[in-house]
């Protein structure tokens, strides 16, 4: 790392400012700038959209490689079904939908993921 100590603290200050501005932008704007009506309703899905945008690309990250390495439909299907990341996420999804408990879903998802990783050696 080539940054001096002073530059590093400047960076930390700038990052804190960036965080403060991003998280407060609409909280300090005049009320007429604040979203209302249909837009405000639609914004309720923002956390869902953000969390899916962060997680899904990571969940399916290895699939193209696994599919490319598997010749034919049968091998491809097996490669998808045994992908540890995807199988873990699907197990979590199933358990959360059935039990409505995220923690149980995490236990199931992590177990399937680590189990398949161990099997794959």
């Amino acid at each position: 790392m080539s940054l001096s100590a002073a530059a590093l603290w400047v960076l930390i200050g700038l990052l804190a400012a960036v965080t403060l501005v991003a998280r407060n932008l609409f909280l300090v704007l005049p009320p007429r700038w604040q979203p209302r009506g249909a837009v405000e309703q639609a914004l309720r899905v923002a956390p869902l959209a953000a969390l899916l945008a962060i997680t899904v690309p990571e969940i399916v990250r290895d699939l193209p490689l696994r599919l490319a390495a598997a010749p034919g439909w049968g091998a491809g299907a097996l490669a998808v079904a045994t992908d540890p990341r995807l199988a873990g996420a699907l197990a979590l999804l199933l358990v959360v939908r059935l039990t409505r408990k995220s923690l149980w879903g995490l236990v199931a998802g992590a177990s399937v993921y680590l189990g398949l990783l161990a099997l794959a050696g």
């Binding site: 790392m1 960036v18 991003a22 923002a46 990341r85 879903g105």
Partner: protein, 240 residues
């Protein structure tokens, strides 16, 4: 902050109850926070940050998104302003969160509004929206701050643990993925109703298309696409 808030909260039982409810509701997202905090702490030390700057990043910046964006750039000798700009782009989804929260925090004094906005991150926002779907929520600021306080404690605690244990802990792709699974776990209960499913489909499609875009621009584009899809799917319906 929590120590100064607590006596005031205790004098106001309804507010105190909302604060504790917020803390309870955010519990499912805590494994994700713990895993990501640990991974971020280890990553900061591995990239060459010394103890004080690493603690500064944890407690002053308080943004895993910013930290994980600039850490690879620190290693490559990128300029300070370029790193701040990259973090600003990566943080754009929080601008959308601030728009979402603006109505709820409108009448709150400025200092409390800024403080609450600063430490409100994904888990507490998700818990807040989920609780709102269950019915009218009283003392919304106290609820948010209850969720924020516990989230911040877990994030900072695990990040410090990562900094302290970096020498003995491997970076751990497995741990990072389990943290991601935990985030996915708090996402699943939010999938209810036509606008939510439309938002999910649009967000996933754009996120996959933009997975390789720089500075997490794909994430921001996916959030915008999700909100636009929810707007489209909810047209003609009154407020619920």
């Amino acid at each position: 902050m929590l120590r100064t808030m607590q006596p005031a909260l205790r004098r106001h039982p309804v507010r105190w109850r909302a604060f504790r409810l917020g803390a309870r509701c955010v519990v499912p997202s805590l494994p994700a926070m713990a895993a990501w905090g640990l991974v971020t702490g280890v990553a900061m030390v591995k990239v060459g940050l010394e103890l004080l700057p690493a603690l500064g990043m944890t407690f002053i910046v308080y943004s895993g998104t910013s930290q994980l964006t600039v850490l690879p750039l620190l290693a490559t000798g990128t300029g300070v302003l370029a790193m701040a700009a990259a973090a600003a782009v990566a943080n754009l989804r929080f601008v959308v969160y601030s728009a979402l929260l603006s109505r709820h925090l409108r009448r709150v004094p400025l200092a409390l509004r800024l403080g609450t906005g600063f430490w409100t991150i994904d888990g507490p926002v998700a818990a807040f929206m989920q609780q709102q779907r269950r019915g009218p929520l009283v003392q919304r600021v106290a609820f948010l701050n209850g969720a924020n306080a516990l989230t911040a404690a877990v994030w900072c605690g695990s990040s410090v643990a990562g900094i302290a244990l970096a020498a003995v802990l491997p970076l751990g792709a497995e741990l990072a993925y389990i943290g991601l699974l935990a985030l996915f776990g708090i996402t699943v209960p939010l999938l209810a109703g036509r606008p939510a499913w439309a938002a999910a489909a649009a967000s996933v499609a754009v996120a996959l298309a933009g997975a390789d875009w720089p500075h997490r621009l794909g994430t921001f584009a996916a959030v915008l696409a999700g909100v636009a899809a929810a707007l489209w799917a909810g047209r003609g319906r009154g407020p619920r």
